[in-house]
Structures are given as structure tokens and as C-alpha cells.
């Protein structure tokens, strides 16, 4: 374990140094990452220009959902960049995964250490800004429990979406054609849960409650943070399921990954 962490740290060092070698492109990436998130938030804010409320929620309240998601997704994308199905699929096709298999370190350590997109910092910082804005305008009522729970919610989402990345990458062992489907699930899912879940049709919300329990990742914790009533009458512990959902999906994803590695075919040339 300690050796794994030492290796991870060194591999990250390589990634970070390589990225800083290309200073211009790095600054550009950082800037465009901020721009993308800012545009998304501006679009959200514009909706409130016209309607003032979405499903009874104010801009500040929705910004809380949005900010929390952006921070989590940004951290996930930075840490799990090696498992971005697009990049991972390419590394399988180009044979770099062969080289990873040939080294005497855990595959997970090495894949995680093979990418570390510092430019995602842009997204994280902007997300933090939005969250701060939300906290201010909603005049959130902080308690010690809330302060302690916030990082756990972030962790839950990081693990959940990280797990999705791992599942998507594992599928590229068999086919690269499903990458799009996985991307829709990941990006679409994250977009969906940056809005209050009660605005969706019942069937859609049920999918995201029972099939993919994403409703517990962001929506329920935010109900708790903002002291809002639960419109669906779940038990009182529902807001605290986020870390559990994250850990459970991550463990399942790892099991699938291990199964996939046994079916790894390498490349024909």
C-alpha cells in the first residue's frame, strides 16, 4: 500500500511536469475549462432571469446543486483522468496499456497515475466560486454536522462518477463503439443532477432513484444543507446515503474492471 502510494506520487509528478513543459497550451486549457463552466452557469442564471424560480427553487439554491456538482466532477475528472473512456480506449489501441501490464505495480495505481489533468483546476475553482455565491445568497444555516458532511458528499460523487469512468474504460476492452453511450450517461447524468430532481417526470426520476441511485448523490444532501422538506417522503436518512452510494458503485466498478482485465485482448499489431 505504501509502495503503491509512492509510485502513484511519482507518476503524478511526471504528469504534472510534462504538462508544465507545455506552458502555453496548459494556460489555454485552464482558461477554456473555466470558460466552459462559466458559460454553463451563465445559461442557468439566464433561465432565472425569466422564471425567477425552477420548481420552486431560487437561483441561489440551484447554484448550490450546480456548484457542488462542478467541484465533485472536476475533482473526479482530475483524479480519474486516466480512466476517461476516450483516452483509455486510445491507450488500449496504441498498446500503452500493454506497457502498464508489464510493470510490477497495481494497474489502478498506474492508470490513475497516467493522467492528471491540472487544467480541471479551472472547473473546480469556478465551482467553488458558485458554491460560495450560493451559500451567501441562500444565507445557509451552518451547523458542525453540515460542515463535516460536505466533503463526504463530494467524495461520494467523486467515487460514483469515477466508477462510471472505470466501467466505461473497461468496456473499451471489448469495443470502442459504446464509448458514446457511456459518455452520455456520465455527462448527461451529471448535467441532470445539477438541477433539482423534482422538476423531472416521474419515470425519469424513478430511473435515477432505483436504477441509478444518483438522486442521493446531490439532490438529497442539498435538501439537508438547505433545510428543505423532502417532497418524496423518503426516510430521514436519505440525505446521508451519498457516500454509501459512491462507495458501493465504486466497488462494483472495480469488480467489473478486474473481470475486464482478464478479457484484455491487447492489439493485433
Amino acid at each position: 500500500m505504501r509502495q503503491a502510494f509512492d509510485i502513484y506520487r511519482r507518476l503524478l509528478g511526471v504528469q504534472i511536469r510534462s504538462q508544465l513543459q507545455y506552458r502555453v497550451s496548459f494556460s489555454f486549457d485552464l482558461f477554456s475549462a473555466i470558460l466552459v463552466t462559466a458559460t454553463e452557469f451563465a445559461a442557468l442564471a439566464l433561465v432565472f432571469e425569466r422564471f425567477e424560480q425552477i420548481g420552486g427553487w431560487t437561483l441561489g439554491e440551484v447554484a448550490f446543486l450546480f456548484g457542488l456538482l462542478e467541484i465533485s466532477f472536476g475533482i473526479m475528472d482530475m483524479v480519474f483522468g486516466g480512466f476517461d473512456p476516450q483516452d483509455f480506449g486510445a491507450s488500449v489501441r496504441h498498446g500503452s496499456f500493454d506497457q502498464i501490464m508489464l510493470r510490477p505495480a497495481h494497474l489502478l495505481t498506474q492508470v490513475l497515475g497516467s493522467q492528471f489533468a491540472l487544467r480541471r483546476l479551472g472547473r473546480i475553482v469556478f465551482g467553488a466560486g458558485v458554491l460560495l455565491f450560493a451559500v451567501t445568497v441562500t444565507q445557509l444555516d451552518w451547523t458542525l454536522a453540515k460542515v463535516l458532511y460536505l466533503p463526504l458528499v463530494v467524495t461520494g460523487m467523486v467515487l460514483f462518477f469515477g466508477g462510471l469512468y472505470i466501467v466505461g474504460s473497461t468496456i473499451t476492452f471489448w469495443t470502442v463503439e459504446s464509448i458514446e453511450a457511456i459518455n452520455i450517461l456520465t455527462y448527461g447524468g451529471s448535467y441532470l443532477i445539477s438541477y433539482p430532481m423534482h422538476i423531472y417526470q416521474n419515470w425519469l426520476r424513478r430511473i435515477f432513484t432505483y436504477l441509478v441511485p444518483a438522486i442521493f448523490l446531490n439532490y438529497y444532501p442539498v435538501l439537508y444543507f438547505l433545510d428543505k422538506p423532502d417532497p418524496f417522503g423518503f426516510p430521514a436518512f436519505a440525505p446521508f446515503l451519498s457516500p454509501l452510494v459512491g462507495v458501493a458503485s465504486f466497488v462494483a466498478a472495480l469488480a467489473f474492471w478486474r473481470f475486464g482485465v482478464k478479457h484484455y485482448q491487447s492489439t493485433g499489431s
Binding site: Q3, D6, I7, R10, L11, V14, R17, S18, Q21, G95, S96, D98, Q99, M101, L102, R103, P104, A105, H106, K262, H263, Y264, Q265, S266, G268, S269
Partner: protein
């Protein structure tokens, strides 16, 4: 016996997706999924003793790389048994690969943006090589492979030959007991090839490292391997000494004689006269039936000789005939 590699009834099949052709192809491809089974390795058996240096030959697509990938733990065999150095490679991958080295000529294990020496340093940590041994090995390989001029150059700026030398060094820093080379000399010039061959021989002889190497360059085999295995369409069609292969298939030597005078007839017993003109005769003989000195003596007893030379059997032609005619 000290067999370090045991392979029996080893098979690897791939399902390769077949795509529809024609007008409605993309729609059909979406709806149906057809695949073809490829037997890349089709039931092979062999063992390799510790310290051997074995050449693994075969035409394109024969199954060489697939075999090496199973031996190095990258691929799980479809069936059969595979034990290397006491391990089932894919089962205990991490412990197994710590004690082998593998170089795939078309790939690099080094970090693209890092200076060569820093990639080596990373290997030191990955393989947990004690510092003293790391330094000794690096110094030795540096001498043999002449790495010094480009140790602090990023890998992306190296020439192919330099990169290959660096890759080979990286694969050896942790003193592996076994080495797998998949086309280590591909794309290199004559001098670079020779340097790598000398190095591989050195490692095999001085360190008694077991080596299995695939190549399409017959000179690699000629310089390095006593034993060769030939695979074709997934089946092992020859396994034995190179000399025996040559004996069995086109193992003929040639004697070329320039006579001092013109003779009407220059036939000798024990050799076949291939051509004779302008006072030069070319004989073909089988060394198992007549030795070169005996033949030369037979010729010189009857004719005045100005000059002569002996040609070894041409391995390249022999191997090509085997591939083309599927002799075995």
C-alpha cells in the same frame, strides 16, 4: 531439469468482428454482430531451459507476438498450460513481471516527456531496485549500449536506435531472470542492429539470462541463436538447433573453384557440379557426406587450382523456402 518455461497445448483464439459491406452496411453493423474466430496460437508445446537463447521465427501473423504476450502475462490463454519461472503469468501478474524483462520493438516503456535517466529512475522505484545494484547495472549497460550522450534527452527527441537502446536498458535494470524480445532490431540500421545483438549475447552469456526473441532478420538468428522455433499459422512446425534446420532444408554448402587452366570436364565424385564456365566451377556438396577438405583435395589432385572459396548455406533462402512451401 531446469526448465524455466513450460508450455503445453497452449491456445489463444480471438473473436474478430466482421463488418458488413455494401449499401446497408452501417445499419446492419448496428443491428447484427458477426464475428470470426482466429486461432492465433493453435496448441503449441515447448520448454526452455534456464540460460538458453532461443529464436522464435515465423511469417507475419503466425502467432509470435501472441505467444510472447501470453508468456509475459498480458493475455490470458484460451486453453492450455503455461508456467514460467514457477508462475502462471496472468494469475500473479505483479510478482511475475517483477522478475522478467520484455521489449516490444514497436513500443516504448519509457515516458515520452521525461529525460531517459528519469525514466530509469522511475523504474528503480517501480521494481524496487536497490540503489547500489541500480548504479552498477546502469554503468555496465551505459558502457555497452553507449547511452551517455542521450541520457538527459527527453525520449520524444531520441532516434529510433537510441530509443531502442534505452528501452533495452530499462528492461534489464532489475536483473530479470528471463527476457522476451519481440522484434528488437526492427527498423534499425546495420550498425545499430549489430550493437543490440552483441548486447543480447553479452547478457545471455555473462548473466546467464534466458532469452526468447522473435525477429524477421535472419542475421539476428544467425548471430545469436543455437536453437530456433518456427511457428506458422499458430502451429509450431520446427523446434531444434539452427544447424539441424539447415541440414534438413537446403543444408548444402557450395565450393567455388577458379582453375589455372581450361579443362574440358571438371566433375568430381561426392559433389554436384552446378555450373562451369570461364574456368570457374561451382559445386554443391552435403557436408554430412563429404567434408570440405576431402572435396578440395579431390579437386586439387586432378586440376590446377588458382583460387577457391566455400559458401555457407544461405539461411535466409532456407527459411524463405520453409515459409513459402510450408515444408514442415
Amino acid at each position: 531439469m531446469l526448465s524455466i518455461v513450460h508450455v503445453s497445448k497452449l491456445e489463444k483464439t480471438f473473436h474478430v468482428r466482421r463488418y458488413h459491406q455494401g449499401r446497408w452496411a452501417s445499419l446492419q453493423n448496428l443491428v447484427t454482430r458477426r464475428s470470426r474466430l482466429i486461432r492465433a496460437v493453435d496448441g503449441i508445446d515447448f520448454t526452455i531451459e534456464a540460460g538458453e537463447l532461443v529464436g522464435y521465427l515465423g511469417p507475419n501473423g503466425a502467432g509470435k507476438s501472441t505467444t510472447i504476450k501470453m508468456l509475459t502475462g498480458l493475455l490470458v490463454p484460451s486453453s492450455g498450460r503455461l508456467i514460467v519461472n514457477g508462475f502462471v503469468p496472468w494469475k500473479d501478474r505483479r510478482h511475475y513481471v517483477a522478475r522478467i524483462g520484455a521489449v516490444f520493438g514497436q513500443r516504448t516503456t519509457l515516458w515520452w516527456d521525461l529525460p531517459v535517466i528519469e525514466s530509469f529512475e522511475l523504474h528503480r522505484h517501480l521494481y524496487q531496485i536497490p540503489t547500489g545494484r541500480f548504479k552498477r547495472n546502469l554503468a555496465e549497460f551505459n558502457d555497452l549500449l553507449e547511452l551517455a550522450p542521450f541520457l538527459d534527452v527527453p525520449v520524444r527527441s531520441l532516434s529510433l536506435g537510441q530509443r531502442m537502446r534505452a528501452d533495452i536498458c530499462a528492461a534489464l535494470l532489475h536483473d530479470p531472470e528471463l527476457l522476451f524480445f519481440d522484434e528488437p532490431t526492427i527498423g534499425l540500421d546495420v550498425v545499430a542492429k549489430e550493437r543490440i545483438r552483441n548486447f543480447i549475447r553479452h547478457i545471455n552469456e555473462e548473466r546467464e539470462t534466458t532469452v526468447l526473441l522473435t525477429t524477421h532478420d535472419i542475421a539476428d538468428v544467425q548471430r545469436l541463436c543455437r536453437r530456433v522455433m518456427i511457428i506458422d499459422r499458430g502451429k509450431l512446425i520446427f523446434d531444434g538447433e539452427l544447424a539441424r534446420l539447415l541440414e534438413r532444408f537446403g543444408g548444402h554448402h557450395r565450393l567455388i573453384v577458379d582453375f589455372a587452366e581450361s579443362y574440358a570436364e571438371v566433375a568430381v565424385i561426392g559433389a554436384e557440379l552446378l555450373s562451369y564456365s570461364d574456368q570457374r566451377a561451382i559445386y554443391r556438396f552435403d557436408r554430412r557426406k563429404i567434408t570440405a577438405p576431402a572435396l578440395i583435395q579431390a579437386v586439387s589432385e586432378r586440376y590446377a587450382i588458382r583460387d577457391l572459396s566455400i559458401e555457407e548455406p544461405d539461411i535466409e533462402t532456407t527459411i524463405r523456402t520453409i515459409y513459402e512451401k510450408r515444408l514442415l
